[in-house]
Amino acid sequence: MLSLIVFLPLAAAAVLAAATQLPDRVARWAWLGVTAVELVLVVLAWAAYSTPAPGALALEEQVQWIPGIGSSYHVGVDGLSLPLVALTNVVFAACAVYALREQNRPRVQAALFCFLQSVSLGLFVSADLILFFLFFDLSIVGMYFVIAGWGHGNAARSAVKFFLYTFLGSLALLLGFIGLYVASDPHTFDMVALAADPPLAGSGAVGALVLGAVLLGLAVKTPTVPFHTWLPPAHTDAPAVGSAVLAAVLLKVGTYGFVRIGMPMLPDAWRSWAGVLVVVGVVSVLYGAMVALAQTDLKRMIAYTSVNHMGYVVLAVGAAGVVAGSDAEARAVAVTGAVTQMVSHGLITGALFLLAGVLQDRAGTYDMGAYGGLAAPAPRFATLFAVGAFASLGLPGFSGFIAELQVFAGGIAAVPLTALALPGILVTAALFLRAIRRLLTGPTAGHSTGFADLRPAETWSVAPLLLLALVIGVLPRPLLDVIEPASAAVVDLVGR
């Protein structure tokens, strides 16, 4: 089941890449078809999913791969990964809809995105470190080609910067993986086994160093301050669908790694790093929000809010590592909030980036000062953007609130210091209101004159994402019911 979900897009990518004579129209619709099938599959998987025992995975598949070094093709999902798998498929489906208007080599683009989808799905279902790393690196490669091939502005340079920076992260990660492997007994790369019997327990410095390498790798990918500087240029120069995938799916890999790898496999070290993580989280929240506030370029602004939003996740997982003086329930709430935030940020920021792409499409600039009063010529755009902005600033009724409320509730309860990050919510609100004021309201001016409103493909790619954010915000239980057992399990593991 999982393998089918993971590899179906890959097969589609191969076919799309090989069929050079395929008409563009067919390619576009084929891509949409694949993502639709993927959506159905993930719904089936969700239906078939039943909460596994703590530390175990559901829908598991395991095939020997490199037995010599204890690595296998091992996939499975639990409450941490299943929501992200679903998110991935949703976001890619939205991108496929959005790209129905793509004129620039649509067949190759479809192939590339199918490839990226496979890789992203693979990342979230991997239960083997090497498999995880494989997909991790391939995601970098795929994203590089998306930015370099379909970007605008200084795309080549941004793409290289993205590649270099995240590749650095991946190498640090690999170093950490090797450390885990060498320390495990018997040597293995299997995540389940490593989590069940964490190596380097009580080893002090070595464990801290190994986790340090892992954290560095994940922090670059997340990204957290001060490793975030690749993000704004990458987003600014990437195509809309590329930005959406990058923000909605690939950034989650970093934070997912925290809960999947860092916490369960190196609980000792995690506890000793927890303070640093909390501080980094607080700084990321505040710093990301503040720098976003100063931006005049819409995409850069959204990119920096990603730093802010991912900061909440870091904050929460860091707080979950401060075991002393807090109860497990609060820490579990924080972790649940973190996972919810991943899903929520994926939906909302994905939608915002798709909307930002419309600006580039119509007027060729993201400079908010070049617009004004867009609500008059483009009411649909204005409505969706406003909804997205409010969702992103954590308005109740949207998923972001569910996430941030839990992050803060659990975080503050576990580590009162995390309250320092609260102004982040405020600054985010201020900056989104400013963006709305600059772009949508006031007299119609600049590029807004004659701005064509959203076309159906654009509307129907963005609206479902926001609708899902709304559904999660109003009816969070189905999602939380999946996440909560898993986060409780993770918190247990860290508390060992």
């Binding site: 340079r157 290289v160 270099l164 975030h228 500087t229 720098v291 329930e329 503050i412 309201t441």
Partner: protein, 618 residues
């Protein structure tokens, strides 16, 4: 009525306006024609439902986040407040069908959504539920204040309102965390049982959030800017509902405040001082809506004072009476604004004579505001002050002074609107918008209903209704206003009224400008934050982004000196990194001279070093 049915009514009370509101707000222009009737119908059903739940007292609950349910319940307190809000909503919406003509679907949609949020706020029994509704109120208020989005300053005013109240709302986020940590659970009623340390944090958070929402000092200025919104919005949000919810939250959390030892006192003084200072501010205003806004802050000060001194029943009564009174006045101001295109007081001179019915209704409201017996606010305010006297005479004195100021600004309005129209007053009209010179029955009807309310709601503080309310809220033994106090305050109101009619009110600059709070906030918070943001952004671009390269640079630096390569200034990041690494690369290429004998030399040297290394290292 069966509990299930009552529960359904409560759900419906919350869900119906929310669903209709979202549909109308997002539906766009297509729904404009249907908007007004649907909206009034919904609000009407809301009122019916509110009355139903007020009697049936249902409790409903579904699982929600952080181990706490989304739960609503109607208790004695909300049984009073919920129907009040529903009634005001209905009346305001009826008024709006005549008053708000552009984009009615969006307007009514947002109003209904807001009404739903208020209903949830009023009935929430857990912190997350409360916070959810609380923030939705803020967001809808933003959208409503900035309703005329083509005017940049109105949108900005909405932004100020939202950001300021949200700054205070952070307190509630803190409160949720504190409640979770405190071990007493996330139910509001359980808060006093939280462990001592966390109890303080919880109370502080709630206090800050409530003061912000209630536009108490030092947050008051946002209310002034919020007056940029349509008048019906002010009538609902800034009298009966959103601002009032700040006071309401404190009334609800009164046991918590009392349990901390300091929070209740703080709340009492914050309320009393706001009532006094904002009263002065109100008296100094030359713009009717600004005057009413300052008055709202001041009147909510009494509610907050009530919560602080433990007069929940008095506070509630004042809240309800003020809701009717202030909604009435705001609607009247709105009607005049629509008709004459102005809300400046001088321009409104004699307006009551032009439309006497509306003028008479508004006068009832103004007299109630002034505390003239037997109108509503006269008794309710004294109920609060009686409790204040028991707590501290100083509080009582401040409160009484504030009451006098209420009379002053009410008198200022009264005098103006009934004065004969001076010649040429028309020239001052239409400074805001083009007036219609018309006030229809759709507008006047709600004014009359509200005037009735403003006249009689004082019974909530007087026996026998007042006693019933007190016993429902469990405050039988709390102090209540003596006859002396009641008479005294009524007399005070009349004296002040007369004095103002004779001498007018002073308009000191500090008061006209709302103590300059807006400017202070701008200078102390907004601009520094923006400057910090820009500084950080520059730091991000110039230092952090470049830091990547500089790591490479640092390693290269030593080598570069060796290579006698110029240390050219760095500009771009990646180019710099690439250049630095390339420089390292050039360095690495240097041994490859192409001269064979130099290869020989190098090889010999490396081998010799290798041998020596093996000899030295054991």
């Amino acid at each position: 009525m069966s509990p299930a049915l009552a529960g359904a009514a409560l759900w419906l009370l919350v869900m119906l306006p929310a669903a209709v509101g979202v549909a109308l707000a997002l539906g766009g222009r297509r729904l404009d024609r249907a908007a007004a009737p649907v909206s009034v119908l919904t609000a009407g059903s809301g009122l019916v439902l509110a009355v139903v739940v007020a009697f049936a007292r249902p409790e409903v609950s579904v699982p929600f986040v952080a181990g706490s349910p989304f739960s609503l319940a109607v208790d004695a307190l909300s049984a009073v407040v919920v129907p009040t809000v529903a009634a005001v909503t209905l009346l305001v919406l009826v008024f709006a069908t005549g008053d708000v003509r552009d984009a009615p679907a969006r307007f009514h949609g947002l109003m209904l959504l807001f009404a739903s949020a208020v209903a949830v706020t009023a009935t929430a029994t857990t912190w997350p539920t409360l916070l959810l509704a609380w923030e939705v109120m803020g967001a809808t208020s933003y959208a409503l204040v900035g309703f005329w989005w083509r005017d940049d300053d109105r949108v900005a005013a909405g932004g100020t309102a939202f950001v300021t109240t949200r700054a205070a709302d952070l307190g509630l986020y803190l409160a949720v965390g504190a409640a979770l940590a405190g071990g007493a659970g996330l139910a509001i009623a359980d808060a006093p049982a939280a462990s001592p340390g966390w109890r303080h944090a919880l109370a502080a958070g709630v206090l800050v959030a409530a003061l912000g929402k209630a536009a108490q000092l030092p947050f008051s200025f946002w209310l002034s800017r919020a007056m940029a919104g349509p008048s019906p919005v002010s009538a609902l949000l800034h009298s009966a509902a959103m601002v009032a919810m700040g006071g309401y939250l404190l009334l609800r959390a009164q046991p918590l405040l009392a349990a901390t030892g300091w929070a209740a006192t703080t709340a009492a003084w914050a309320g009393a001082l706001t009532a006094l200072v904002l009263g002065a501010v109100a008296a100094a205003q030359r713009d009717l809506k600004q005057l009413l806004a300052a008055s709202t802050s001041a009147q909510l000060g009494f509610v907050v004072l009530g919560a602080g001194v433990g007069a929940v029943a008095g506070g509630t009564a004042h809240l309800v009476a003020h809701a009717a009174t202030k909604a009435l006045l705001f609607l009247a101001a709105g009607a005049w604004l629509t008709a004459l295109g102005t809300k400046s007081l001088p321009a409104l001179t004699g307006v009551a004579r032009r439309w006497p019915v509306a003028g008479a209704a508004a006068s009832v409201g103004a007299l109630s505001l002034a505390g003239v017996a037997p109108l509503a606010l006269w008794a309710t305010k004294d109920e609060v002050l009686a409790a204040a006297l028991k707590t501290s005479p100083a509080l009582y004195v401040v409160g009484l002074a504030a009451a006098a100021l209420s009379a002053a600004y009410a008198a200022k309005v009264l005098v103006l609107v009934w004065r004969r129209e001076p010649a040429g007053v028309e020239k001052a009209w239409d400074d805001e918008q083009a007036g219609t010179r018309h006030i229809g029955w759709v507008e006047t009807g709600p004014l009359l209903v509200l005037a009735a309310g403003a006249a009689v709601l004082g019974v909530l503080a007087l026996p026998p209704v007042g006693d019933a309310l007190r016993s429902a809220l469990g405050e039988e033994s709390a102090p209540t206003a003596t006859l002396l106090e009641l008479a005294g305050s009524a007399l005070l109101a009349l004296v002040v009224l007369a004095a103002v009619m004779r001498w007018g009110t002073p308009e000191p600059g500090w008061a006209t400008s709302w103590l300059g709070l807006g400017r202070v906030t701008d200078a102390v918070a907004v601009r520094p934050v923006l400057r910090l943001a820009e500084t950080l952004a520059r730091f991000d671009d110039r230092v952090l982004d470049r830091g990547v390269d500089d790591t490479a640079t640092a390693t290269a630096a030593a080598a570069a000196r060796l290579a006698r390569v110029d240390d050219a200034r760095v500009d771009g990041l990646v180019t710099a990194v690439a250049r630095r690494t390339r420089r390292l690369g050039e360095l690495a290429q240097r041994p490859q001279t192409g001269q064979l004998h130099e290869y020989y030399l190098q090889a010999a040297a490396v081998l010799a070093v290798g041998v020596l290394l093996l000899l030295v290292v054991r």
